[in-house]
């Protein structure tokens, strides 16, 4: 028989789960990235499916990162999981993710200037999104684990 838990206990348990999931998601994004580059930038049916899968994955992860995720939990639990500390941690993570994405874009722009055609537009978008997102996920995960003690 399962024991009833208070909203505070449920929020704590889910927050720990989220903190553990964040680096795993970052790894998952990097694996997707590796799969994209190993297959080359082509537009066969299988590549279109893979690209659509990546787009959905990235959109869901960004939405979860920005909103806190766990959308099917009660409002009370989600509010506890999105309290001041979490919002500060998320803000710090996004503050890191943005310059990482910008720096990736700048490096790719420089690369294109010196070696034209070395990176396709789709590859560049992939790298900018993935690097920014992975940086934000890792930072958020680290800060959440530290906060949970």
């Amino acid at each position: 028989m399962s024991q009833a838990t208070s909203p505070g206990e449920a929020a704590e348990r889910l927050s720990r789960r989220r903190a553990r999931m964040l680096p795993v998601l970052a790894l998952f994004v990097l694996i997707q990235q590796a799969a994209f580059f190993s297959a080359g930038d082509r537009m066969r049916t299988v590549d279109i499916v893979r690209t659509c899968g990546w787009l959905v994955l990235v959109a869901v992860i960004v939405a979860a990162l920005v909103t806190g995720g766990f959308w099917f939990r009660s409002r009370e639990i989600r509010d506890l999981m999105d309290d001041e500390v979490t919002r500060a941690n998320r803000s710090s993570a996004l503050t890191l993710g943005f310059p990482v994405a910008m720096a990736t874009g700048i490096v790719l722009y420089g690369l294109e200037a010196f070696q034209p055609g070395s990176v396709t537009p789709r590859e560049a978008i992939h790298l900018i999104v993935s690097f920014g997102l992975v940086a934000a996920l890792l930072r958020f995960g680290y800060l959440e684990r530290r906060a949970l003690g």
């Binding site: 208070s6 505070g8 206990e9 929020a11 704590e12 927050s15 506890l80 999981m81 309290d83 001041e84 500390v85 979490t86 500060a88 959440e144 530290r146 906060a147 949970l148 003690g149």
Partner: protein
Amino acid sequence: MAKLANRLRELREAKDLTQAQLADAIGVSRKTINTVENGVFIPSTVIALKLAAALGEPVERLFSLVE
């Protein structure tokens, strides 16, 4: 630059409260209490006042500036 010191852990333990109990009392997560106690997070004025009220202490006894 001045830093914010706090006596939250000391005053909470004096009231024989766990972090989770204090968190429940003011409607925040235990993580908030933990980070404030460890000096990792500076709470908003609202949370600071709620903490002070829950512990029955003036807020300036809970938080102070150190040079």
